[in-house]
């Protein structure tokens, strides 16, 4: 055994001993963090898991039409099914009518075949009154939808406990009757354009807050203390005001008979009222205003930690003012810039009340649709799928930032 090896072993022993001695303290620290961990699991991780599950969960058809699904196993997939399938459907719907679950099956199938909801309801009412077969003629008499093979292939496909339907819909795709994946009709393709629009608006807002906010943050760091305090208050004040109040204030400013138009007319800069509200311009302006503090504060906190002497040193070593700024100062503010931009970008992705109030019909963002599908349509599957898409896009962008600038370069504090 060489001398260095003995030293190494000694070192490891000491290290292990120190670690062992510190274990109770570490445990205590960990147990103090437990409430937070528990809170995060309940309030953050569990809902996200639930969101992921909801986006693919497909219980309705399986639980409400089990006999029909069994009978459909021997169906050829191209013709109208035979009597046994209709008899099974009648039995399922009869039970569904008693449990009042028919409409749930109808609502689920209605997502894929518009009009199916009332057809299923009508059929369940009819089935409840039928004592004996043959059922096939009765269903076919009631609606031609029961003759269409597409109807049956949709029912058969939804026998699976998990469905790709919601996730596909969230990116404007659908399953064709043969099982392949294809784009939806052009007049039904809304989610990808909306996602693109959401990213675009968030990008523009982020860029504008950076252009407007960077100089403000710089001035905040070099201004005399009293002036800096007042400026800081002006930066923070909007942050303390309700989002809705700030948005409504922009409605007052931007509307056709609003303050901005009145000033423009009084100055004879324009003779006709300018359309400011209900436009992309209005949306971006209001959102930029609301997001400014989120971009300014991280940049400011990083700028404050940069020694002003470095700039002076650069100048005394011969760098011009521009060169000193761009080569010495600006690179050091990058962690704050990235953090601020990331924060504003991600928050902007989730906007919906501001675009709804000051934006035009082409300014609605993804969140707006998520809220509609949750609150009004009770289509939580599609809402969850849109949420998943938004989450993935956000994570992708976050990952891209990490790759571009490195995790250590982002200072979110």
């Amino acid at each position: 055994m060489s001398v260095t090896e003995t030293v190494d072993i000694e070192r490891i022993r000491t290290f292990v001993a120190v670690r062992r001695a510190a274990r109770p303290a570490r445990r205590a620290a960990l147990s103090l963090a437990l409430p937070l961990v528990g809170f995060l699991i309940v309030a953050f991780i569990a809902p996200i898991l639930y969101l992921l599950v909801t986006a693919v969960d497909n219980p309705e058809t399986r639980s409400i039409l089990p006999r029909t699904l069994t009978a459909l196993e021997s169906w050829d997939g191209v013709s109208t099914p035979d009597e046994p399938v209709f008899a099974a459907l009648a039995a399922d719907l009869k039970l569904a009518k008693e449990d009042s679950t028919a409409s749930q099956a109808g609502k689920r199938l209605n997502y894929e075949i518009p009009g199916m909801r009332s057809k299923v309801l009508a059929a369940s009412r009819m089935a409840a009154g039928l004592e004996a077969g043959p059922y096939r003629e009765k269903f076919l008499d009631q609606s031609e939808i029961w003759a269409a093979p597409e109807t049956w292939s949709v029912i058969r496909r939804n026998g699976a406990g998990l469905t790709p339907y919601y996730l596909l819909t969230a990116v404007d795709l659908q399953q064709s009757p043969s099982g392949g994946i294809e784009g939806v009709a052009p007049d039904q393709a809304i989610f990808l354009p909306i996602l693109g629009r959401t990213l675009l608006v968030a990008g523009i807002v982020t860029g504008l807050t950076l252009i407007l906010g960077y100089p403000v943050a710089y001035v905040l760091t070099i201004a005399p203390r009293t002036i800096a305090a007042v400026m800081m208050l002006m930066v923070l004040l909007p942050l303390w005001t309700s989002l809705l109040v700030r948005t409504t204030a922009w409605v007052v400013l931007l509307q056709s008979d609003g303050v901005i138009n009145a000033v423009l007319m009084a100055l004879h800069l324009t003779t006709e009222k300018v359309q400011l509200i209900f436009t992309r311009f209005g949306t971006v302006t209001a959102m930029t205003h609301i997001q400014l503090p989120f971009t300014i504060l991280p940049i400011y906190s990083v700028m404050r930690s940069i020694q002003p002497t470095q700039l002076r040193a650069a100048r005394s070593l011969g760098a011009g003012p521009t060169s000193a700024f761009w080569r010495i100062y600006a690179p050091q503010t990058l962690p704050g810039v990235v953090a601020g931009c990331l924060m504003t970008f991600i928050l902007s992705l989730g906007y919906y009340i501001t675009p709804a109030l000051v934006g035009g019909p082409q300014d609605q963002m993804v969140s707006n649709f998520i809220s509609v599908y949750i609150n009004r349509d009770l289509n939580w599957g599609l809402a969850a799928a849109l949420g998943v898409v938004l989450l993935l896009v956000t994570l992708a962008i976050y990952g891209l930032f990490l790759r571009l600038v490195g995790a250590d370069k982002i200072k979110l504090g």
Binding site: S103, D187, Q255
Partner: protein
């Protein structure tokens, strides 16, 4: 720490015991808040308490069915009666989150206006989506629904609700489809095309509103020359000094409903409250505070002539009216809304 815990548990236990006792003699009712609930408070809740001694605990919500569904699914229904709009009624009834109504207790359905009765709900009021304009700035205003689409006669922007429901109907009505055939036409793909084609003719002149309060605001600020609006909003703006007029021609009627959410603590008490709330005199009483029509024909005799003039359901205003077909929208709403969204973006 331990001591605090030891005292907290019994206290919580006592509270749990006391809760049902407190709930006795009171009923929890949830409605839409604002001027609407204010009217219900004066005309229904306070008179109910006066008549029966049962206190009404009020709650407010924004009409989100998700809120009721979450309550029912978690097995903790804290309200006894809820006021819901028609799509919520239909959806909740389908999903089984509302109790079925025992109509033998409420009375003969023949007395009720079209569309105000349902397996799960009892009508509260009838409201109208109609064309409105500002008489202060437009003395010779529109008189028929076709004027909404006539930009030669009435140049300027018009406000429409950012939702295909009511707009497709208005488009077909203005295009000459009789009210009785509107949904027949809309049920064909060609009918939806026709409605969109009609909307295309004024597309550049439309300002879309989303919240009900925006419509009168658009009129007041001069942003639009006319707008479709919910009649109660126009009436309220007039109370605040505006001179808005409603064009009753081809108005579209829709209703709200009382429902009992599944798992309500005392469905019997809920039903008793509803039975009281839809008594003709009580229904008529609401019209003193807000111009929404009573759901029963027999309430008409208790309404004063001044109030009747503002009601969408009074015979003079009802000459040409369409009742919104919520079953049609439940079937086709999702598809048409997507088409509407792509159409907006074009």
């Amino acid at each position: 720490m331990k001591k605090a815990y030891a005292t907290t548990v019994p206290v919580l236990g006592l509270l749990a015991l006391a809760a049902p006792a407190l709930a006795e003699g009171s009923i929890s009712v949830m409605s839409f808040g604002g001027a609407y609930q204010e009217a219900q408070r004066k005309a229904v809740f306070e008179t109910y308490t006066a008549a029966t001694g049962i206190k009404v605990d009020e709650q407010e919500y924004g009409g989100e069915i998700a809120k009721i569904a979450a309550m029912v699914e978690s097995g903790n229904t804290t309200v006894d009666v809820v006021d819901v709009d028609a799509p919520t009624l239909l959806q909740g009834c389908d999903d089984g989150i509302f109790e079925k109504i025992d109509w033998t207790r409420i009375g003969d359905q023949a007395d009720w206006l079209e569309g105000t009765t349902s397996d799960c709900g009892v009508g509260t009021i009838v409201y109208s989506t109609a064309l409105a304009y500002n008489a202060a700035t437009l003395p010779k205003g529109p008189t028929v629904i076709a004027d909404l689409f006539d930009t030669a006669k009435f140049p300027g922007k018009r406000g429409l609700w950012k939702n295909p429901a009511t707009n497709l109907e208005f488009a077909l009505l203005a295009d000459g489809v009789p009210a009785a055939q509107v949904y027949e036409v809309l049920s064909t793909p060609g009918g939806v095309d026709r409605a969109f084609a009609k909307l295309d003719t004024i597309k550049q002149d439309i300002v879309w509103w989303e919240a009900g309060a925006q419509a009168p605001q658009l009129l007041a600020s001069g942003e639009v020359v006319m707008t479709t609006a919910w009649n109660g909003r126009i009436y309220n703006a007039n109370k605040e000094g505006q001179d808005f007029r409603i064009v009753w021609d081809n108005q579209i009627l829709d209703s709200n409903y009382w429902v009992i959410p599944k798992g309500a603590k005392n469905p019997e008490a809920s039903l008793e409250f509803i039975t009281y709330a839809v008594e003709p005199q009580v229904l008529a009483g609401t019209t003193k505070y807000i111009p929404y029509g009573p759901v029963r024909a027999s309430a008409a005799e208790f309404v004063t002539p001044e109030d009747a003039a503002n009601l969408p359901t009074s015979p003079a205003n009802m000459t040409v009216a369409l009742t919104l077909d919520n079953a049609f929208w439940a079937d086709n709403g999702d598809e048409i809304r997507k088409r509407f969204t792509t159409w907006l973006a074009q």
